[in-house]
Amino acid sequence: MKESALLEMRNIHKSFPGVRALQGVDFTLRKGEVHALMGENGAGKSTLIKVLTGVYEKDEGQISLEGSVATIRSPQDAQKVGISTVYQEITLCPNLSVAENIFIGRTKSVYQNWKKMNADTEKILQSLDIPAKATQQLESCSIAVQQMIAIARAVDMDCKVLILDEPTSSLDEQEVAKLFKLMRELKAKGVGIIFVTHFLDQVYEVCDTITVMRDGKLVGEYPIKDLPRVQLVSKMLGKELDDMADIQSEAPKFERKEGSVPVLEAEGLVSDAGIKPFDFHIDKGEVNGFTGLLGSGRSECVRAIFGADRVLGGTVKKDGKVIKINKPLDAMKNGIAYLPEDRKIDGIVGDLSVRDNLILAQQVLKGFFRPFSKAEANKFADEYIKLLSIKTASADTPIKSLSGGNQQKVILARWLLTHPEYLILDEPTRGIDVGTKVDIQKLVLKLASEGMSVTFISSEMDEMLRTCSRLIVMRDRRVVGELTGDDLNQNKVMGTIAGGDK
C-alpha cells in the first residue's frame, strides 16, 4: 500500500570543504508516521535535517511537501511550510522568558499582547505537563525542561512535519515517556515525525519506520517490524557487530588488593554547587561510577574532585598523601583528568583546530613558556587521530565542524595525552553513535587493565553496569549507597536510586 507521502526528499547532495556530507540521499515521510533516522555520528543525519530545515542550502536534489516542490532557503521558510525542529542542542534564548521563547518570531503584528501570550503559554505548558512558569527565565529551567519547552514551541506552531533531533538525550525516563505520549498524540493528528536518536529502545518503542544512513549515503528504509535490533546496528555500522554483552566477559574483573592505598581518597568533600559532603575513594586500575537520576549531583561530585567548582571543604589524599585541589590545574598536576558532561559548553574550543584542542591540556601542564613545536603537536594529533579513529578531514580542521562523537573522541584524546593516573568521564557517550559508545567502553576497560583508575558516569544504566565494578548511588545531591559485586544489577540499582528498600 502506498500511503500518501507528506514529505519527499530526492537525491539530496551537500558538500562542505573537504567533506561530502550527503551523496544522493532519498527520504520519504508519510502522514501520521514516526520515522526514525538512524546512523552513526557523521553519517549525515544532522546535515540532512539541516538541509530540510533550511539551515544549509542543498547543492543538488529536490524537496517536495504534499506533492508540490518546496523551496526552503531558511529556517523561516521551513517554518512557513510547516516544518518544525527541536535540535539536539537547545537553540532557544536563555535570557528570555519561557513565554517569549515559545512565541519569539511568531507574532505578525508589531503589537504584542503580553498577557495573552503568558496565558497561552501557561495553557501549553499545562497540557504538556511541563514544570515551568510562563514568565520564568529560560536559563533557570533545567536542561530537560528547556528541551521540553523547545518541543512545546515546535508543537504549538501547527506543524505538518516535526523533527526531533536527539530530543531525549538529556531527559530522564519519565520525561521521555511524556514526550512519547505527546508524539503519539501528534501522530494521531496526522503529523509526520522524524525522530533522530541513539537510543535503540526508544526507536523500537515509538517508531513505525526506520531510515538508515551511513557515510553520507542512504542504506535503506525499513518498516520497524522487518528490522530486528541486531540488524539495525549492523546496518548502521556496515559490519556485523560484536555483541555488546561480550565487552564485559572480555574484560578482566577488578579485584581490590587488601591493604593497598587508594589512588585518590576524598573525605567530606563539598563544593559550592550544592552537594552534601561526600566520601570517595578509587583504587589503581578500578572503574567505578556515580549513578542517579538527572540532577542527583553525580556530575557535581566529580567536578568537586577535579576542582571545577569551588571546593568549600574536605580533604583529598592522593596515594595516601594529602593534596590541595583548588582549581583544575591543581588536579591536572596530580594526574587527574576530567572529561566534562557538556561537550559543547565545557569541552570543545569550537573555532580551534582538532590539533590545538587535542594538545590543550598537555600544553597547559607543560607551561606558558614552553609551547610544543609544530612537529610535536602534529605528531600527537596524528597519533591520537589514528588511535581513536577520529574522523576528520585533517588535524587543522576546526573541531566544531566534526560530528559530536568525533568531537568527544578529540576531548578524550586531549586527556589521554596527559597520561592521567585517574580519569573522570562524565557522560562520555551522550549523543554518540552506538559504534563509538562501544569503542569508548572498551577503551575504558583497556585503560583500567593497564592500571589507570577511571570514574565513569552515564545516564544509560546498562553501560554503567557493563563497565563499572563499583557504583556510587546518588539521590537528591547526597550519596545514598554503594553497590559492588552481585549487587550490580538493574533492579538493585533502581531500588537504591528510588530509595524504596529502606
Partner: protein, 361 residues
C-alpha cells in the same frame, strides 16, 4: 585538456586566496594603491631630501603612510589580543595614550614646563610611562576579567576620565621639550633617512611575533576567547589571561605615547591620539579578525592599520572637502567591512566556483 586542468587549478588557487584571512587587508591595500597610481603616477615616488637640521630624510606618500600609520599599527597589536581574549574592545586607548604621554613629559621635564634640558633620561621616563600605562591596562583588565563588566563599558571609565587624569599629571600645564634628541622617536635619527616610528612599529611587530612563537600566548588567548568554561577546565586561568592581554595593550599604549609626544615635543590633552581607539578597533576588524573574540591574525591587523592610514592619506591627497571627509571614510570602511563579512566571502567563493565550472564546460 591540459588547459582545462590549469584553469581549474587557477580557480582553486584563487578561491583559496579569497578564503584566506589576509586576503581582505591585502586586497584593500592593493585597490587603494592601484587607485592612487592611476590617479597620480607619482604616488610611488620616494625622494631623498634634508630636513631643517641638515639630516637626510626620505619623503613621498609611501614614506608618510609608513610613518603616520605606525601608531595605529602598534595599538592594533594589543587590541587584537584584547579582542581575542575578551571578545570586546578597549575604547580607552586614546585617553591612555594621553596619560602615558603626560607621565613621560612629567618625568622628562620634572614638573618644569619649559625645562631647557631634560631632567631625567628618556629611557627612565619611558619606563615610568610604561609602568603607568600597564597599570591602567591592568585596571581595565581586572574590571573586565574579575568583575565581568563588558569591555566597552569597563574601558568607558578610563575613556571618560583619562584625559582629565593626563591633564592632572602635569597640573594642567603644557610642558614643551626643547631638547632636539627627544624628537628622534617621532621624527628621524640623524643619518637615517627613514622615519623612526616605522622602526619602532617594526620592532613591536617582531617582538610580538617572537612572543607568539616562543610562548603559548596565542593558544591561551584564543582558547579563552572561544570557550572560557572549557579553558578553565583545562587548567587555564581565563581571568588572568584577559588581564595579561590588557597589560600588553598598556605597553603598546606607552610606546604610542612616546611617539605621539615626540612628534610634537609637547602634548595637548584633549586632542592627542583622539579617536585612535576607533582606528585601532577598525584595524582589527579590517584584518578579518572576529570582534567577538577567538582566533586572530596579528599581521592582518597591522596591515589593517596601514589600510586606514592609506585611506586617510588618499583622502587628504585628493583634497576631499572637510565636511565630507568622514562620510568618504565611512563609505570605504563600510565597503571593506562588508567584503570581509563571512557571508559575502562565501558568496564570492561560490560565484568563483560557478564561473569556473562554466568555463570548463
Amino acid at each position: 585538456m591540459h588547459k582545462e586542468m590549469k584553469k581549474s587549478n587557477n580557480g582553486n588557487f584563487f578561491s583559496r586566496i579569497v578564503r584566506q584571512q589576509m586576503f581582505i587587508p591585502i586586497f584593500a591595500l592593493l585597490i587603494l594603491v592601484i587607485f592612487n597610481i592611476i590617479m597620480d603616477p607619482s604616488f610611488l615616488e620616494i625622494t631623498l631630501g634634508t630636513n631643517n637640521l641638515g639630516n637626510p630624510v626620505l619623503g613621498g606618500y609611501l614614506i608618510r603612510i609608513l610613518d603616520n600609520g605606525s601608531e595605529v599599527a602598534i595599538l592594533a597589536i594589543g587590541m587584537t589580543l584584547v579582542t581575542a581574549a575578551s571578545g570586546g574592545q578597549d575604547i580607552s586607548v586614546g585617553a591612555a595614550v594621553a596619560i602615558a604621554g603626560s607621565v613621560l613629559l612629567r618625568v622628562l621635564c620634572g614638573g618644569d614646563t619649559r625645562a631647557e634640558t631634560l631632567q631625567s633620561p628618556v629611557i627612565l621616563a619611558f619606563l615610568v610611562s610604561c609602568i603607568v600605562a600597564m597599570l591602567f591596562g591592568a585596571f581595565n583588565g581586572v574590571l573586565v576579567a574579575y568583575f565581568r563588566i563588558q569591555p566597552m563599558v569597563a574601558t568607558l571609565i578610563l575613556y571618560t576620565a583619562g584625559r582629565s587624569i593626563a591633564a592632572w599629571v602635569n597640573n594642567n600645564e603644557l610642558p614643551i621639550v626643547s631638547e632636539q634628541s627627544f624628537k628622534y622617536f617621532g621624527g628621524y635619527i640623524p643619518g637615517i633617512p627613514i622615519p623612526t616610528p616605522f622602526f619602532i612599529m617594526l620592532a613591536c611587530v617582531i617582538i610580538m611575533c617572537l612572543v607568539l612563537k616562543f610562548t603559548n600566548l596565542r593558544l591561551y588567548t584564543q582558547a579563552v576567547g572561544i570557550n572560557e568554561n572549557s579553558s578553565k577546565l583545562n587548567g587555564l586561568n581565563p581571568a588572568l589571561i584577559k588581564v595579561l592581554t590588557f597589560v600588553i595593550l598598556g605597553l603598546c599604549v606607552a610606546v604610542v605615547g612616546l611617539i605621539k609626544v615626540s612628534r610634537n615635543s609637547t602634548i595637548n590633552y584633549s586632542v592627542i591620539a583622539k579617536d585612535i581607539e576607533m582606528d585601532a578597533i577598525l584595524a582589527v576588524a579590517l584584518g578579518g579578525n572576529a570582534l567577538g573574540g577567538g582566533k586572530f591574525n596579528m599581521i592582518a591587523s597591522v596591515l589593517g592599520a596601514y589600510v586606514i592610514q592609506l585611506l586617510t592619506t588618499t583622502l587628504y591627497k585628493f583634497n576631499v572637502q572637510s565636511d565630507a571627509l568622514p562620510a568618504y571614510k565611512a563609505v570605504v570602511v563600510i565597503i571593506l567591512v562588508v567584503i570581509s563579512a563571512p557571508t559575502v566571502r562565501a558568496w564570492f567563493t561560490s560565484m568563483m566556483k560557478k564561473f569556473q565550472t562554466k568555463e570548463v564546460a
